[in-house]
């Protein structure tokens, strides 16, 4: 390893850390924003236990409990969304790429724009 390698490694670590500068401050009562194909499918407050089923184009079952949300079931081929476990802090995200579903935690006071929320 030469000097240039260490410079590259330092720059790479700095680059990887840049998104942290953008991370929002923790809100009081965060909620989960569920997107399907880029459209907001639902917004779930994390302080109320709930189950959300997305059936269209592949099944995903999301469960809110104990102030956190997790992907309980999914019939996608890789199942990585289920393995990502529970999330609860603003900025954390669960992704199910095969079904193009994402779940993002946002803090209170952060708008996602006017939306039609559907919660089952």
């Amino acid at each position: 390893m030469k000097r240039g390698d260490f410079v590259i490694i330092a720059l790479a670590i700095l680059l990887a850390l840049t998104p942290l500068l953008l991370r929002p401050a923790r809100g009081a009562a965060p909620r989960a924003v569920v997107r399907k194909d880029g459209e907001i499918a639902a917004e779930l407050p994390l302080d109320e236990d709930a189950v959300l089923r997305l059936e269209e184009g592949g099944q995903n079952v999301l469960r809110v409990s104990g102030g956190a949300i997790r992907m309980e079931e999914a019939d996608c081929p890789d199942g990585t969304c289920v393995r990502q476990g529970a999330i609860q802090n603003p900025g954390e995200t669960i992704v199910c790429l095969p079904h193009r579903v994402t779940v993002t935690i946002v803090g209170n006071g952060e708008g996602t724009g006017g939306v039609d929320a559907v919660v089952q």
Partner: protein, 169 residues
């Protein structure tokens, strides 16, 4: 360093491409035991780096394109093709820019390539899902990429030392 015989160069590139394809496939059979989707050792990329080191950008791009297209056809989906193509192109650009510089070894090239590959993956995922928060995912993925990129750089360096003697013959 330029290979004298074009046939020889073509055959070596084909071997590197098939090596990259097999390594990517074997890697996909053993996912890293981490809750980080998209995190991989990236040994296939070591083959692209080898092509760059032994021959040049044109040959490396050929190996990369072969690997990306064939692995998408054989094991992937149109989506995985998008990730691999954008990530691979960014990664190869970074490695090529650093190529032939005295102060950088293949390890540094590989680290730069890996992190840029991760950046490409995250950017494509962000674009496809229209979820800007996915950009935060670049932090754990990129940090791990520094490590795995370094490891596959070491692998490329070891192969390079053994393949150099073949070149002159």
């Amino acid at each position: 360093m330029r290979e004298r015989s074009p046939v020889r160069r073509l055959v070596l590139c084909a071997l590197l491409a098939s090596g990259a394809l097999v390594l990517s496939y074997v890697e996909s059979l053993f996912p890293l035991p981490l809750p980080l989707p998209g995190a991989r050792l990236g040994l296939g990329n070591a083959m692209v780096l080898l092509a760059l080191l032994l021959f040049g950008l044109r040959e490396a791009a050929g190996v990369l394109a072969t690997k990306v297209l064939l692995s998408a056809l054989l094991f992937g989906t149109p989506l995985s093709l998008a990730y691999a193509a954008v990530g691979g192109a960014l990664s190869l650009s970074a490695m090529a820019l650093l190529n032939g510089r005295g102060s950088v070894t293949p390890i540094g090239q590989s680290v730069a390539g890996a992190v840029l590959h991760n950046a490409g993956q995250v950017l494509v995922a962000t674009a496809i899902t229209a979820t800007p928060e996915l950009l935060y995912y670049f932090t754990p993925l990129g940090l791990l990429g520094v490590l795995t990129g370094g490891l596959s750089g070491v692998a490329a360096k070891l192969c390079l030392d053994r393949l150099r003697p073949l070149q002159g013959r």
